[in-house]
């Protein structure tokens, strides 16, 4: 299982608001 990381943070924040779901925001320099 992998984490469904997305790079469009604005979009994720919009969806979080619509779904009333919290967000994990990862600042990470590891290879993607």
């Amino acid at each position: 299982m992998k984490i469904d990381f997305r790079q469009d943070v604005d979009r994720v924040l919009q969806e979080a608001k619509a779904q009333q779901k919290p967000v994990l925001l990862d600042f990470n320099a590891a290879p993607m």
């Binding site: 299982m1 992998k2 984490i3 469904d4 990381f5 997305r6 790079q7 469009d8 943070v9 994720v12 924040l13 969806e15 979080a16 608001k17 779904q19 009333q20 779901k21 919290p22 967000v23 994990l24 925001l25 990862d26 600042f27 990470n28 320099a29 590891a30 993607m32």
Partner: protein, 149 residues
Amino acid sequence: MWPNERVARFVNENLLAARVHPRQNPDAFKQYSERYKAPWTPTILLLDSDGVEHHRIEGFLPVDDLLAQLMIGRARIAFDAEQWADAERRFREVVDTLPNTDAAAEALYWSGVAPYKATGNPASLKATGQAFKERYRDSPWAKKASVWT
């Protein structure tokens, strides 16, 4: 630690996940690292559905400690939303399932606070203070709970 199965399951079941990379996406990294004052990597923020930060994890952690911190962050979001029963359940789950992590003592502390906030009955604080006499006695959270007994 992200490829770990337990971490991935928790994140996918509880959170929407976004990642900003300082070299592959420098504009986004600059924008969001400035907005959230997060210049260092790795840094993980737990945000509520309005984008407000409730918990921060800075630096590398082994799997169990990372998972415990993510669980604490999710519990903290419930706590700050005054969802006391959900917060208590989530804090207690950290203590029960990851008792040897650094976060467990913090979770034990807040698992006593949440029911007190719900009811005003100090019994849960007293019980938590007593519990700290049996476990995590050297943690800073035991000192904070020492006034409850």
